[in-house]
Symmetry: C2
């Protein structure tokens, strides 16, 4: 891991995202989208054969496959899913929003009506790994929002099967509409609909570069959660932080992906040195050692800060997906954190706790986008409508201000729609 | 205006948006963005000369220009701006969100911290028209959210000036950072920064196709409000609706743009006929008669519904930007409205009231996107961070569930970060 001062770190800061620089992927993605728009299910079957190496008879996961999956997973796993589900429900229940109305003098009523989206799609990645936790993290907030139809898509493996863990999690969450489609073709199907897959109004869930770019392209025709980039952990540690804990947490992020960014910011030279040593020592013992070592050496950073204030300012500048505060008085410093997807407080709140079971969402803004984005939440699955009611006299009282502004903007038909109501005698 | 049954309307429904079909505009937009990324202010000056026909000495509006603008607008206009400002403030104050925390047994603390974005950019269109109301509608929610730095960009006219109405509205709203840049180059400058214009974290405000596509491209590097398409009004009217009011309101939408969509859905044949006649009769008298007539004949629709339920189902399917309920018992039917940007209730609540002065935002989801998007609001200018704190024993109690899930997902470094804490003796 590279050792830097806060100033050096800031000077070497990379631009992590540039959404205008994906022309090669985009070209392939646009072809796939056009194919699905034109040929629907046929395109999905053909593209799944091409990319996943399996010719499917049915896109939908059958009831039998669900039963088989449920039988194949352990009781221990089911119990873990139930614990996670309960904690996710408890936390996210605090995010539900109510419609509100206010009355103003003269019989005026204004308000904000909150309505769930009708139908949403959840993308669950496939491939070598399996993501049952992602099923819960995406489905439960949508259900709490009141979304009635939830569709999951996930790529099949070469046997035409879907991870039993994913199916068991879907069943536990109460979703039984699962399609064996992945990649940009799944995003296109969810965005525009096919004979089998109904068009949805929002697409959420992580995926590879093709999934991310497809989501970017269909954004505007449907809503999307975010365009996920490389993910990161940033640990702010003082001399009280146990170096072997810090190292283990950096490694838990590093094992995701060679592009993952494990960053330690510390005010303690001793902690910096001890973490550096412990990280490489621990890496030797981990299964995903190659990925971890690549991530550590390429993207790992240890930033030496002169003061805690400098450490926190650096963290805010990074706007990390995961921020761990392993310092003496973490709660006292919470107010100074302005940019972070999730904030883990103290020595016993590692990222893995939030990834699986504490309750808050693990779908978090990556690559610095926490400066302007939020964790996935119930708020992602509702939309608001303003409500406006003015009686005749109330409209008359404000008419002059409206027509003055409309005339200043050169919109005289707007003015006329006010004038015509002033001239009328009747009231309502 | 074309007269249709609800069934015919549904069958002829057009796909209003397809975000994958703008390759010509995109190519020009990407060149502009690359130019601004590379050459900063120089690119802005050069592109402003090219597109707006004026060579600027200074990108920023000077204090003198502000003073000049203030002198040139009427007292009446200033009063109208103050009325609008007060009503927008009153309504949007209801949207502010607080951080919250919950305590769970075992010393667990979970929460959601709400933080304003640091810096946002507001795009105000220029050209022939002037949009002082748009300044208020975009700036005030950001201020209520707690955003400290707000930057406005707007294209200059060929004299190198900016609309005095826009400047007076900006001054009244308390924003004095205004740059004379428009088009895709303004979006690029806000997204990536130049020597003069600081990078922002969210870009809001309406614009032409180049602005909309530039916003789509930079989305992900910064947040954006929405990608605006053709806008619409949908009036649901029964036999109690005054046809001349209905016609005037359809025309107020039609005058915006030839692509604007004025739609009446009515259960009354008499109202349908009377509105059809009144619309063309009124159009003759309006200044923007040509635009209005084009919009009416191309995109105008009168849908005859058999029942109010069918009328409302049709409106929900359209998911209109503006929905007017001019029916006998509008409040009683409010719960059945699921998709609309703003809902105007009764015969004296025309769209123009909401456009300027009632208080709710006039930046609304267009082209059917109200099915998954909300009006611009205070919530657009904050982001949330999850907060997670577990003490040692609380983590120990949930350890097994976490490691079971991590192992199912093949992420053993996640498991290790939990195991290492179980083995430790100390507590914190």
């Amino acid at each position: 891991m590279k050792l830097l001062t806060a100033e050096q770190f800031f000077q070497q800061k990379q631009n992590l995202t540039d959404q205008t620089n994906y022309r090669n992927v985009d070209s392939a993605v646009l072809d796939i989208i056009a194919d699905v728009q034109k040929s629907g299910d046929n395109a999905l079957v053909k593209l799944t054969e091409k990319f996943d190496g399996v010719l499917l008879d049915e896109l939908a996961v059958s009831e039998e496959e669900f039963l088989e999956a449920e039988k194949s997973v352990s009781e221990e796993f089911k119990q873990a899913i139930r614990t996670a589900k309960e904690n996710i429900l408890t936390f996210h229940a605090n995010q539900t929003e109510q419609s509100w109305f206010i009355n103003q003098p003269g019989g005026i009523t204004l308000g904000q009506k909150v309505t769930p989206m009708e139908r949403v799609g959840v993308y669950i990645p496939g491939g070598k790994a399996s993501y049952p936790s992602t099923v819960l993290m995406n489905v439960i907030p949508a259900q709490l929002a009141g979304v009635k139809e939830i569709t999951i898509t996930t790529p099949p493996n070469s046997d035409g099967k879907v991870s039993p863990y994913v199916l068991a999690a879907a069943k536990e969450a109460g979703v039984d509409t699962v399609y064996k489609v992945g990649g940009a073709q799944a995003v296109a199907a969810l965005a525009y609909g096919t004979e089998t897959i109904k068009k949805v109004f929002k697409i959420v869930g992580p995926g590879n570069a093709y999934v991310a770019r497809a989501k970017k392209w269909v954004f505007g025709d449907v809503a999307i959660d975010m365009i996920a980039g490389p993910s990161e952990i940033c640990i702010v540690a003082d001399e009280t932080a146990p170096p072997n804990f810090v190292a283990a947490d950096l490694l838990s992020q590093a094992e995701h992906d060679e592009d993952a960014r494990p960053i330690l910011i510390t005010t303690s030279n001793e902690v910096a040195e001890a973490v550096q040593a412990a990280a490489y020592e621990q890496a030797e013992q981990r299964e995903r050692k190659d990925i971890i070592q690549k991530s550590l050496s390429t993207n790992g950073r240890i930033v030496l800060a002169d003061t805690l204030a400098e450490a926190i300012a650096t963290a805010n500048d990074i706007a990390p997906e995961h921020l761990q505060l392993m310092i003496n008085e973490p709660f006292e410093n919470l107010a100074t954190i302005t940019n972070a997807g999730a904030i883990f407080i103290g020595n016993y709140s590692p990222e893995a706790l939030g990834d699986y079971a504490a309750g808050p969402n693990h779908t978090l803004p990556t690559s610095g986008t926490a400066a302007f984005s939020s964790p996935l939440g119930v708020y992602d699955f509702v939309k608001k409508s303003s409500v406006i009611h003015y009686p005749h006299q109330a409209l008359a009282s404000i008419s002059k201000d409206i027509t003055t502004l409309a005339d200043a903007e050169g919109l005289s038909a707007h003015s006329y729609s006010i004038h015509i109501r002033k001239d009328e005698e009747d009231d309502a």
